[in-house]
Amino acid sequence: MNGAELSLAGVCKSFGGLTVIDHLGFTVKRGSRTALIGPNGAGKTTVFNLVSGVYPIDDGTISLDGEDISIVSPAGRIGHGISRSFQNIRLMPHLSTIENVMLGEHWRRPAFSLARGRRAVESVKAALADAGLQTYPGQVVANLPYGIQKRIEVVRALLAEPKILMLDEPAAGLNNAESDDLRALLERVSARGITLLVVEHDMHFVRRLCDHVVVLNFGRLIFEGTPEEVHRDPAVLEAYLGTDARAVQSDNTAKAR
Amino acid sequence: MQSAQQLINGLMLGGILAFVAVAFTLTIGMLNFLNFTIPALFMLAAMVTWALSASGEHIFALGLPWYAAAAIGIAVAMVASLIIERFTYRYLKAHYGDATEHALPLVSSLGFLIIFEHAVITLWGSDPQRLELPFRDMDLHFAGLIVGIPHLFSLGLAITLVWVLSWLLKRSSIGRALRAIAENPDAATLMGVEVARIVPVVFLVTGMLSALAGILYGFSYSTVTPYIGDAVATDAITGMVLGGLGNVWGAIVGGLLVGLIKVFAISQFGAEIEKIPVWGLLLLILIIRPTGIFGKSRLGRGKF
């Protein structure tokens, strides 16, 4: 499995006259572990929605390994190697864990093959076990705890065998142990060469997982660099002041210790 | 002359359809809910009016004067509509993650349709009954054309009521609250609109409109059966879609148009063909221009 390089150039998007993404351009390098951060309303989730095809872009290009994918249909993008999770859990509430996860590999299976074939079930179970979810295969997801559902979303996205895995706040709502498990899983994913793009508010998580940080504010790029540099950048500090300034500062003190 | 009379007949039928179409469009426009109990309320009011005013062997044969019977008929339908509200719309507020479960109120309203229709059959049987006003001649004759007075009254009343309704929606505080709910029920709740107290108003109005239409229909055609609601409702739904969901004036225009189409189709091709033009038209509009003539596209897509 190989990662891919995602690049955005001059991307614009507005909703009813409100510009949400404004001439945005940045590159997520092949095999990198990139974090996309910014204050609330900066347009992070919109970037995910534009890349995965939920909305069409108004202007600019989104390309994967140099190929323009902004013209590919939403259902076709997963075939180009893009898969994602969602900020608010978007699992299929009436399907079991295993069925939800199988949706991830749906695009690469023939329509009339049995979903419950032995080989298919075994490979899915292995993926679940790798994420520590082996105990819940047959259960309806709506009744499972939040942290478990959050991880099922990651496994579903992974089973699509993506070249770039986009996770929208994967650590939100997880306790420390769960968050560490998730990070370990993502490190294993990254070791397989898959490019990671993560939207995350938890800077502690970002600093330990990611090697590159992209900061947005009002739909524009305001900073790009390493997790260490991001705290010293005046533009970033200003963007966060009054919103998440305390989070950044406390994170700085944590690092100083 | 023949076709002038057809035109009048079509408009007279259309007047009643417009009434029912307005009732449908109000619940869809305000609450985004296709209320299948409207035909039941329509029939219930007409049957109650007949039962109370006629003398005979049946239950509740009180021999009341027609206006008292009609008033009680309207009251019964309005109370029934409130009961329906309790078990249908209240559950719209339950949000589920998928498509078919939004059908909940629709299913409940279908359940009520069955309950009321069979309650009436159990009480009074399914035979057609005569419902007549005590006046000698109910028709106006001029220039060789016949115009039914109840029909004329029905059309006039429909237009007057819709005019009053749209005025109230614009001006009154209940009207403003209703429009807020139609826009977004959650936001309306946050803004302090008491949804649970305002929504029953829509159902009261729906009950009143359906009941008036049913009684006028009964007097106009002098016959009532437990099944009169079904055919009228289907035509009224076509009228509503034609006018655009949620648009009261559109419902009036749509109802009149369907009345005309129906009368002309029957006179041209015979009664056997009657289903095809109306339903074919509905199917065609839904596929080609689902917003109707004057409708808003937002309505009727998400929930049922």
Binding site: V54, P74, A75, F86, R90, M92, P93, H94, L95, E99, M102, L103, H106, R109, P110, A111, F112, L114, A115, R116, Q139, V140, A142, N143, A160 | N32, L34, F87, Y91, G97, D98, A99, T100, E101, A103, L106, V107, S108, L110, G111, I114, I115, H118, T122, D230, T234, T238, E272, I273, E274, K275, I276, L282, L283, L286, I287, R301, G302, K303, F304
Partner: protein, 295 residues
Amino acid sequence: MSGYMSGVLAVLLINMVIAYSVFLPAAAGLLNLGAAGFVLIGGYTAGGLTSRAGWPLVPAILVAGLFAGVVAFVLAFPILRTRGVYMVLATFAFAEVVGGIYLNIPSLGGATGLSVSTYAGLPVIIPTTVCVVAFVAWLLSTRLGLAMRAAHDDENVSLLFGVNLRMVQVAAFTAGGALGGIGGALLVHQFNFIDVQTTGVLFSIYVLLYVLIGGTQTAWGPFAGALFFTVVPEILRTMSKLDPSMKFLEAGRFIVFGIAVVLIMVVRPEGLITRTLIEKVQGSLRRLAARETAA
């Protein structure tokens, strides 16, 4: 088996086949209030083939299913452009148009209806129903079935995971139409008669209620729904005959039916049979089995 019992069983099984015809689109998140349309198409096609063209029964049933499926396929593309209330109304209008068309075909009996002499008894109905249920169970267990159920829960996310939403919905609607045609073919040969009144305005409503009351999450839903709403009215009718004081149930049984619909929607809004219910039953069975092995 008495004639009465086999009659009730035949009606029950036919109702189940027709319920599955509405279940397939519903499982994919599409409400079809036009079951009567496909039932009429299947009934008139099969009835016409056996009575007018002298076909044997089984091929006539198959061709009826096929023809209804083709109609459903052609209809699916325009119908699927509509959503929500519009789709409910469009499918309902379709059924009425079909009724109107058959009313005006004199060679198939027109307003007087179509009488057929070939009889389909339980020896035909039982295997057909088994095949239909097996087909639905198989379809749901394929990737396509998984995609259908995913589309039911969340269309947008399904799309992002590469589900060809249009294809899945057309497939569900088409397969449902074909099953409706088969149901209609059985119906006409069970009663030796069909006319447009066979499927009145309430017919499609009842079938949709079977499915939504039974539950759209599992293939057991329409089974339970059709069973509940065929057997309960029959029991009420039998009671009304046994005891003169229960005479009111004769006509009143439909009131009980309506009240049951309203109450079930209050108590079990997702239908009688849900995934969670099955999970609970399986859990307690497993505990029971564990206790027995321990003892």
